[in-house]
Amino acid sequence: MTDRPSVLVPIRVLEGESIPDGVPKLLADAHVVLLGYHVIPEQTAPGQAQMQFEERATARMDELEELFETAGATVERRLVFTHAAQKTINRLSHEEDCLAVLIPDTVTEMDDVLVAVRGTVGIDRLARVVDGVFAGTDATVTLYHVAREGESDADAQTLLDGLADRLVDNGFEEDRIKTRIEREQDPVDAIVDATVDFDALVMGESDPTLATFVFGLPADQVADQFLGPVFVVQRERPEVEEKTEE
């Protein structure tokens, strides 16, 4: 096996959120960045929450860390008290150079994995996540693309085959890779529909647009409706982070 891909696992550590069954095993070959976070209202200073809850949170983090380590993962842990969960998750994903963020959910058997491929942008990181997490398992991965208007099936097939070849080059068994192309209006709906037969999903993070502002990130929309773990592959961040927010 090559590099362990870094996967950020955010957990609301003080609200009884735990690691769902099967997730430690799923990440056995990954480098887990375990983010325990606690969201506090604006009236409360983060330090105030830390003063009161740090001990309990640390004890909980010890348990969670052990779960992952027992399963075989390497673990790096961070505990953050924050007013804005999404900001914290984005920051850590960037700081720890994570390839993907896991939205955890229960997984019993890991047989079929759906990999949603949007386009060539970011496909390198997608490949590294799929290879790093699933190469050592028996799971079959299905590379899936929702073709846009004016995009021919041949183009779509080339895209998926390119990814498949890359995985095979890295040593992924060819007979464990399938491809599938779909045509439907809305990619998010298409992905949600397709996930019915799968145990886990790998998809890209999309660029923030007005629509994601209003409706939330597609990955979150999908994760809300899909009953399994979702790996959200992070797009490459520029070296110097743009300071535009707020």
């Binding site: 009236q43 200073a45 983060p46 330090g47 009161q52 740090e54 914290t88 920051r91 927010e245 707020e246």
Partner: protein, 479 residues
């Protein structure tokens, strides 16, 4: 003063056996690092910081003081506000430098306790908490006046009450705000930003019209008058009274631990908000006094701006300013209650107040005791209905802190401890902090004797509390 060579950690314990919390290990642009793998996220940006500063300040200076100030000083009240602005700026600069070196919650209290020693810190810290309590009470009485004016506009007049209706309304709003802070909607900061933007837009439009009118563009004669109609001394006593309008920038420092990129955003938010409100205040007083003449303006009391608007723009103008006044006094009161609660937290973190005072409510995640320690005394003070005394005591306690902040800067620059590494350095050292310290302390001399006595009593009480409760605690600067 505590011995600066006593080691890098805070030591000692209070009567209850609690010790100060350890200092953080470091500060980044986005977090405060609190040990191996524990971080506190910074989530307030420049806009949020400016909104806290401007939102706290603008309520008082524009919507409560113009009538009171014009009565005391005439047209020269404009000068009083300008003096206040200059003093605020002289303090905002040193505060900015200290805040970039120590971007932690507690603001002025934190800087002073870490540079001048625990006794000074305790007096300033407890004074800051109570000063904010006085300020909130003052804003709430102002808010009460605006609600009364709104009701009057709609034809409802409250009579037959044992106390003024504005007091009862102020009490109701005070209780409601405290309850709201405990029960917590999570979007108070966003709301604050929106309120500030609306206020600035409304005021800019209104004042532009007012200035053009005063200049005779619309063909009306403004009332000719003498600048120092009440003499020169009232200019300074009025400056002391209206200084409450400049307390907000230090509230930015009380949340310094939550500001993103503190090295850049803290100075910009503090200095920026002082400059913005000073301009608004001076123009407002100018417009208000030229439309009516200072003498008549003085007869309208706390809601004088509504009459100015009515004179300039008719009933729609009055309604607009009523609405703006409600928003402004509400946002000032809200911001001050939250800052007071933050001060209680900072003191309890350092074992100068019991640890339970900053306990967090498990249901809402809010510090209900600290908020109650703000809200409770506020209600008592609102009931006194002493607008000018409340304002002056608030100013007194803040001015003492401001003066000591300037001294703290001088102390740190001279002693130059290894951890003192501000990313923003003030221009004009050492003149600016020396003038700032003298001017802040000097302004106190022009207050009402009653305010001075109450303020001094609060400080004396704070010192006694420290000697009783936490005399062994030694706080050290180490960020």
């Amino acid at each position: 003063m505590s011995d600066p060579a006593a080691g890098s950690e805070s030591t000692g314990e209070n009567v209850a056996g609690e010790r100060p919390e350890p200092e953080p290990e470091g500060v980044t642009d986005e977090t405060t690092v609190q040990g191996d793998d524990v971080e506190l996220e910074r989530t307030i940006g420049l806009v949020g910081g400016l909104a806290i500063g401007i939102g706290t300040m603008i309520g008082a200076g524009i919507f409560v003081f113009p009538g009171l100030a014009a009565e005391e000083a005439g047209l020269a009240a404009t000068l009083s506000f300008a003096i206040g602005g200059v003093i605020a700026l002289l303090v905002a600069l040193p505060t900015s430098e200290l805040a970039t070196a120590m971007p932690r919650s507690g603001g002025g209290y934190y800087f002073i306790s870490r540079s001048m020693g625990t006794p000074y810190g305790a007096i300033v810290g407890l004074g800051l908490w109570l000063g904010l309590v006085f300020a909130s009470a003052f804003y709430l009485v102002g808010l009460g006046h605006y609600v009364v004016a709104v009701l009057a506009e709609t034809g409802v007049v409250l009579t037959g009450l044992p106390v003024g209706p504005h007091v009862i309304l102020g009490l109701l709003f005070g209780a409601a705000l405290t309850a709201l802070s405990v029960g917590g909607t999570e979007n108070t900061a966003t709301l604050q930003n929106v309120i500030v933007v609306i206020l600035l837009a409304v005021l800019t439009g209104f004042l532009t019209y007012g200035v053009l009118d005063a200049a005779g563009v619309f063909g009306r004669q403004s009332v000719p008058q003498e600048f120092f109609s009440q003499g020169q001394l009232p200019v300074l006593t009025t400056a002391a009274l209206v200084f409450t309008s400049y307390l907000g920038f230090a509230q930015v420092a009380t949340v310094a631990g939550e500001i993103k990129q503190p090295g850049r955003n803290l100075p910009l938010a503090m200095v920026g908000s002082v400059i913005v409100v000073t301009i608004f205040y001076v123009v407002t007083i100018f417009v208000a006094t030229s439309s009516f003449g200072a003498e008549r303006l003085g007869t309208f009391g706390e809601t004088a701006m509504v009459e100015v608007a009515r004179d300039l723009l008719g009933r729609p103008g009055a309604v607009l300013i009523l609405f703006a006044g409600l928003l402004a006094t509400f946002s000032s009161a809200n911001a001050s209650i939250l800052s007071a609660s933050r001060s209680v937290y900072a003191l309890s973190r350092d074992a100068l107040l019991p640890r339970w005072a900053s306990r967090i409510n498990l249901k809402y995640g809010t510090p209900h005791i600290a908020l109650g320690m703000a809200g409770g005394p506020i209600l008592v003070l609102v009931a006194t209905d002493q607008v000018e005394i409340l304002a002056e005591v608030a100013s007194f306690l803040h001015l003492v802190m401001y003066s000591l902040i300037c001294v703290a800067l001088l102390v740190l620059r001279r002693r130059d401890p290894p951890w003192y590494d501000p990313s923003f350095q003030i221009p004009g050292y050492p003149v600016v902090p020396i003038v700032g310290a003298v001017a802040s302390a000097g302004l106190i001399a022009f207050m009402n004797p009653a305010s001075i006595v109450i303020g001094a009593a609060v400080m004396g009480g704070s010192y006694l509390w420290y000697r009783y409760y936490a005399t062994d605690v030694r706080l050290k600067g180490d960020v």
